[in-house]
Symmetry: C2
Subunit: 252 residues, 2 copies
Amino acid sequence: MKTEVALRAEEAGEPDPEAVAVVVDVLRATTWVATALERGAWGVRPVPEVDEAFRLAAALREQGHAVLLAGERGGLPLPGFDLGNSPAELTQRDVAGRRLVLTTTNGTRALGQVASAGEVLVASLRNAGATALYLAAARRDVHVVCAGTRGRLSLEDVLAAGWLVRRLREACEGLDRSDGARVAEAVAAAWEGRELEALRAAEHGRRLLDLGFGADLEMAARKDAWDRPVRLEDGWLRPVGAGGTMPEVAGR
Amino acid sequence: MKTEVALRAEEAGEPDPEAVAVVVDVLRATTWVATALERGAWGVRPVPEVDEAFRLAAALREQGHAVLLAGERGGLPLPGFDLGNSPAELTQRDVAGRRLVLTTTNGTRALGQVASAGEVLVASLRNAGATALYLAAARRDVHVVCAGTRGRLSLEDVLAAGWLVRRLREACEGLDRSDGARVAEAVAAAWEGRELEALRAAEHGRRLLDLGFGADLEMAARKDAWDRPVRLEDGWLRPVGAGGTMPEVAGR
């Protein structure tokens, strides 16, 4: 059982169709997804483009679903959207049972990089431990992809990937780790117990602090706060084992 | 004073002409260079191609210089060459005063990536501390490039880059570190005092162990064994302050 970590989306290569890919975008897409699902959202639909997000939300509403439209460009909310991609903002809204359509830059690009994988999960520090337990049970090769920011490596993504590797190694004796996986695990070890400090020191974290999103960093730093892995199923991100039927909507 | 670390040569970008670039290729090019210069070689000339290496060696010999031709492809020595790129092998030869022509795959590619920098150094664990002290005195932005192996990140390069960042930070209060620099420093911290263990666990290290080059790993793991930085001067890698005149040979 091999574990590979790509420290930036651009170096992800093509995951093996037998492998499980895990996309990590701690600030803020995958933390936002975990927060939404933790709070009972039916599912999150990641889409790359803004106009696609509008079309999809309209189609879902026509089918009678309760929908919220969320996303950002350059870290800021979009005109006409219900929500940005701030996890803290999300806690002020009732999302239970709703379908959330999300468009973000780095997170969606990273999802595109792993389209060849047999199964795709998304993880953040909030559910890295739960994700590791799921992967340990699956006993398939693991291909973690850190989204990074605008083509640059992001400390917080490497940290979360490393925590996932660490928990996976604890669950699977003799886990085969790539150099990228070992680098990530070292980062998690170096900052263990100081995750919030790491996020505040990180380039992207500092930018978000400047924009007034400090509460998001606090939410993003909460390691293993939630006990569910999140999987991409017919285009929707949902907690594993969430049940229910998939909506019939055209497109991705 | 900013410090940036590219964890693979491919993500190096274009270093600022004002910056100092530092290329790291612990297994084995930059360890080999440090070993050769430590043992009194006049200088090391890195060249990308095998035929260029032959031509340059012939031209230097015609000028009356004592020359050794060194290099590898796929980790193995080349036919007609005097040496491979094994640092341990180098200690069996008298290199004092000689001009060494070296062709390697990853190390030379990484040097090509930083051609735009105002000054280029090469570092390994053997002289990372000395390199950091030189950089601290220079007070210019630092752009460290880990060579990696065949486009993949190499644990040992990240480790050495991290040790350099750590020593630089100790010498320069308030050093501005990129996320890549922080990742590298965390790797160095996680393996501190166990550098040889890290090299033995690394993908490239394991391959070299299989090929019988275990002694090279031991030499490569010796942190701060040598007190001189190495700089590229008119195409030659030489210890800083080595003095002497540059040979007149066409082309790099």
